[in-house]
């Protein structure tokens, strides 16, 4: 693996913050938190001199004065939770966290044999040893200050265990609601999903805001540990308001012959940074990391992905698509490592970006680091605008320009959205694309989901 560049220690807000705990924690967790806290104190909030954060200025997080509330009583959470639920449709379980605290009244948990969907506090009481083995395995904090901060400060979270050979048909939905309080809220949320041998599940993580105005911070860490032959269909949907700061870290360990398939959708947030780190830890593992984002207004969306081919015969696929409008900024940094002796690796990465405005800015760095010879690795990156020929083709057939643009944008982004297997989610996200770019395309999407209406 490549060594990271030297760091300049940044500011360290939240240092005096301690999570409010419902019950005392076991010694191993207290120790983990202490180590994480001192690591965070060393690293601080990253500055632009840190190569990994060069294009993601997060200095505002240190100066905004975020605080953390002690309960889940954000007054407006109920409405947004309901609409978040509608995104996914019927679910096997739905856990709702408001500013990082569990909201039992808003959550539902059906009974599926062989599956435990718990809060972190519950899991600590019932399955402390399993937690101890898995926590922090997929999302390491040695070199990631926000992950260290999360490990030190998270108060609760979702824990999912899926037993051997159990197939969970309906999605498990984890909803995180931020904001809704008088002070800017900071939520350090956590999710841990563990699948035993041959298990399969669909997990949707949704991030929303209590309202459209509140500045709030989400520092989410999610970990997925897949046993032999396990399979996860994962969706990360970020629809926070345009004032929100969002730092999302997803760590994945893929076991032998296991398959992790992820779609990462970022339509919200003022500043969003997503880190996906996937370790292919067993022969024959497979990992798909797809993503779409729209950055309009003055928003910034940064996606960093790392796929670490540690074992032979693993495949990885990656398609990231972005649309930049207004003064939007997009960052993509995709790393593929192929370690020594990880022969017969097949890795493919594609990054495509559409620029709709002259003030938009894109920084992309698709990166390959290969230490084995019998491998197939490719990456491709393109940046461009809507094809004039395609626009002309549509207009020649009597389609007005704004509508033609909408069609082309939807086709561009549909390449990834169409791969979403949860049907209501696919339809809802597809409908949001022209909505987000409405002022640009001159089109609006009717509430009943019909074809776009253009002026």
């Amino acid at each position: 693996m490549a060594t990271s560049t030297t760091r300049a220690a940044g500011p360290t807000p939240f240092l005096d913050y301690f999570p409010v705990l419902a019950q005392p924690e076991p010694a191993w967790l207290a120790e983990l938190r202490a180590v994480a806290r001192s690591r965070y104190a060393e690293l601080g909030i990253p500055t632009s001199s840190d190569e990994d954060w060069r294009f993601t200025p997060v200095g505002d997080i240190a100066t905004t004065g975020f605080t953390a509330s002690t309960d889940s009583s954000a007054p407006l959470a109920e409405g947004v939770t309901r609409s978040a639920g509608e995104l996914v449709g019927p679910s096997a379980a739905s856990l709702v966290f408001v500013n990082g605290h569990f909201a039992p009244a808003l959550s539902t948990r059906g009974v599926v044999p062989g599956v435990s969907v718990m809060t972190f506090a519950e899991a600590l009481a019932e399955r402390s040893d399993d937690l101890r083995n898995a926590l922090g395995r997929a999302a390491k904090f040695d070199n990631a200050s926000f992950t260290a901060l999360n490990a030190a400060a998270f108060s609760n979270g979702a824990v999912v265990f899926v037993g051997a050979s159990v197939e969970v048909k309906e999605p498990i939905h984890i909803v995180n609601v931020g904001g809704g309080e008088l002070q800017p809220q900071a939520a350090h949320t956590r999710a841990l999903v563990i699948l035993a041998k041959g298990a399969s599940a669909t997990v949707v993580e949704t991030f929303v805001s209590a309202n459209a105005e509140d500045v709030h911070l989400t520092n989410a860490v999610s970990e997925y540990v897949l046993g032999e032959g396990a399979s996860v269909d994962h969706y990360r949907v970020q629809l926070e308001n345009f004032e929100a700061y969002h730092i999302g870290t997803t760590g994945i360990v893929v076991g032998r012959d296991a398959n992790f398939r992820s779609h990462n959708v970022t339509f919200g947030g003022f500043l969003t940074r997503n880190d996906f780190t996937s370790l292919l830890d067993g022969d024959g593992g497979e990992c798909t990391l797809n993503g779409v984002y729209i950055a309009n207004g003055k928003r910034l969306v940064a996606n960093h992905t790392t796929i670490d081919h540690a074992r032979p015969h693993c495949n990885s696929h990656e398609v990231y698509k972005g649309i930049l409008d207004d003064r939007g900024r997009g960052v993509f940094n995709g790393k593929i490592f192929v370690r020594i002796d990880a022969q017969k690796t097949d890795a493919k990465q594609t990054n495509q970006t559409l620029l709709l405005s002259d003030d938009a800015q894109l920084n992309t760095k698709p990166q390959l680091e290969i230490f084995a010879d019998d491998v197939k690795c490719t990456h491709g990156a393109t940046v461009g605008q809507l094809s004039a020929d395609a626009l002309f083709y549509l207009r020649a057939r009597g389609i007005a320009e704004p509508e033609a643009r909408t069609i082309l944008v939807q086709a561009f982004i549909g390449d990834v959205l169409d791969r979403i297997r949860v049907e209501p989610l696919r339809a809802a996200l597809g409908a949001k694309v022209p909505e987000l770019l409405a002022f640009k395309t001159g089109c609006e999407i009717p509430l009943d989901g019909g074809p776009p209406q253009c002026r």
Binding site: L355, D358, P366, L368, I370, D373, A381, T382
Partner: protein, 481 residues
């Protein structure tokens, strides 16, 4: 297969062909670096005051800079006080013809297969041979002078064309550019200077052979090439260096300026001593090369074949300032045994309708580590800019590495940027196919590797294409496992 493998291994491990030291009298100054050393260098070269001031300015800046550590190469820290910063063959009396050049020097060139007189007679190439840091022979000067082309050593240019040097020196790579370039500004000893006047098409390929000789002497070359409006010039640079156990530092700077409608083609074959199988010795090659397409419709093409050096650190770049200007970069980089290469290019698009093409072929064998690092930057004003990049890596053996770090920064919606990279190895089936048709294993590898690099070799001038293919054969045919 096994017999082929043996002979391939023999080839891959064969000794550096050009490892010999020419025993001629060297004039050196004590090792180490200080303002006094710079004053001595400047005085020895009889430089004007402004040149010394510029060197000292760079030196003071350098003292405040830190050695970069972002690159993907690893080496023990360099002690800059252990380096001899000036080495020149004792000045001879003015030379009128090649006969007057030190016979030993001539013999060295002959061993390298670049007999000056033969080149002069047969190929029409004007050779400004740089032996260590001082030019010892310049040919075809008269013929070029007739057309108004100035082609001479850098020191001569400082004496005879100070205005031109002063105008363009540091205009593309400023004295404060980066650690190694700034060091070069302070201590550079010689190099080449070329000025092609308005509308002139240089009638021959200009070429210079650089050669590092004296032990422990860092080589600090500086090349400045200016093509005035509508001029066309093709410049060749080739290198070999003798075997040495201590690492030698080479920090060169190359600046190209292309005015309106001018075309510059700059080709390099670099085959310095790569160190032995265990990574002992070898040249550290830290080079800053940059060209500026200052005028509209200008064009700069960089072509490089990098087979030597223990460490290669160079990013020949183009600043596409003029509208419709074109930048091109074609590269083959080979790392074998313990060699490391971190190379690539920067294409900075400033003008409208600027275009750039990047084709990079990296070949890693043994324990070699090969990195492509590139930047494509489209600024706001670069309406209609277009870039196409392709980086392919070929891995030979399971202990080498191939890495790609392309940076793409786009700030204009009309820009079209494409980047593609792939990694592959020489397939057993390909070897089998060739062997079935009566080719030996090594010939098969040679054929496949040359095919892999064809797109780049095509861009090289004839004289170089042959040498490049030979070089690949020696440094690479390696390791089909």
């Amino acid at each position: 297969m096994s017999t082929a493998v043996t002979s391939i291994e023999e080839l891959a491990t064969q000794d550096y062909k050009y490892g010999f030291v020419t025993d001629i009298e060297q004039e050196t100054i004590p090792k180490g670096l200080s303002e006094d050393v710079i004053r001595v260098i400047s005085a020895k070269k009889n430089e004007p005051e402004w040149m010394l001031e510029w060197r000292l300015k760079a030196y003071r800046k350098w003292l405040t800079m830190e050695e970069p550590n972002w690159h993907n190469v690893h080496y023990p820290p360099i002690d800059y006080q252990e380096i001899i910063f000036y080495a020149a063959p004792k000045p001879q009396k003015k030379l009128n013809s090649l006969d007057e050049v030190d016979p030993e020097v001539l013999a060295t060139f002959n061993k390298l297969g670049i007999s000056l007189d033969e080149q002069m007679r047969l190929s029409g190439v004007a050779v400004d041979a740089v032996f260590d840091s001082v030019s010892v022979a310049t040919t075809f000067k008269d013929k070029l002078a007739e057309m108004g082309i100035i082609f001479c050593s850098f020191s001569e240019a400082v004496q005879n064309h100070p205005d031109l040097v002063r105008e363009y020196l540091g205009s593309v790579v400023p004295y404060s550019d980066n650690y190694f370039a700034t060091l070069n500004c302070a201590v550079f000893t010689d190099g080449s200077f070329c000025f092609v006047p308005k509308g002139v098409r240089c009638p021959m390929e200009l070429s210079t052979y650089f050669r590092i000789n004296a032990a422990n002497s860092g080589q600090f070359e500086r090349t400045l090439l200016i093509a005035d409006e509508g001029a066309t010039v093709s410049y060749l640079e080739g290198c070999t260096a003798p075997m040495r156990d201590e690492n030698q530092l080479h920090a060169a700077v190359v600046e190209l300026v292309a005015m309106k409608g001018a075309t510059i083609k700059y080709s390099t074959v670099q085959n310095w001593y790569p160190g032995d199988k265990n990574g002992k010795g070898g040249i550290y090659n830290f080079v800053t090369k940059r060209g500026k397409c200052a005028g509209d419709n200008s064009k700069i093409t960089w072509t490089q074949v990098e087979t030597g050096s223990a460490i290669t650190w160079k990013y020949p770049s183009c600043i596409l300032q003029g509208d419709n200007s074109v930048g091109e970069f074609y590269s083959v980089a080979v790392t074998n045994n313990m060699q490391q290469a971190d190379t690539g290019t920067k294409m900075i698009h400033l003008g409208k309708n600027t275009r750039s093409t990047i084709v990079s072929k990296g070949i890693s064998a043994g324990k070699g580590q090969n990195t492509y690092r590139g930047l494509v930057k489209i600024n706001r004003g670069a309406t209609g800019a277009r870039n196409y990049s392709q980086c392919d890596s070929l891995l030979i053996g399971d202990r080498c590495g191939a890495h790609t770090f392309p940076y793409i920064e786009v700030r204009n919606k009309t820009a079209t940027v494409e980047h593609e990279a792939s990694t592959s190895k020489i397939g057993e089936d390909q070897i089998f196919y060739c062997k079935q048709r009566g080719l030996s294993g090594e010939d098969a590898v040679n054929l496949i590797v040359n095919g892999f690099c064809k797109e780049v070799f095509r861009e090289l001038p004839m004289e170089f294409a042959v040498e490049a293919q030979k070089l690949l054969g020696v440094s690479l045919e390696g390791s089909v496992g």
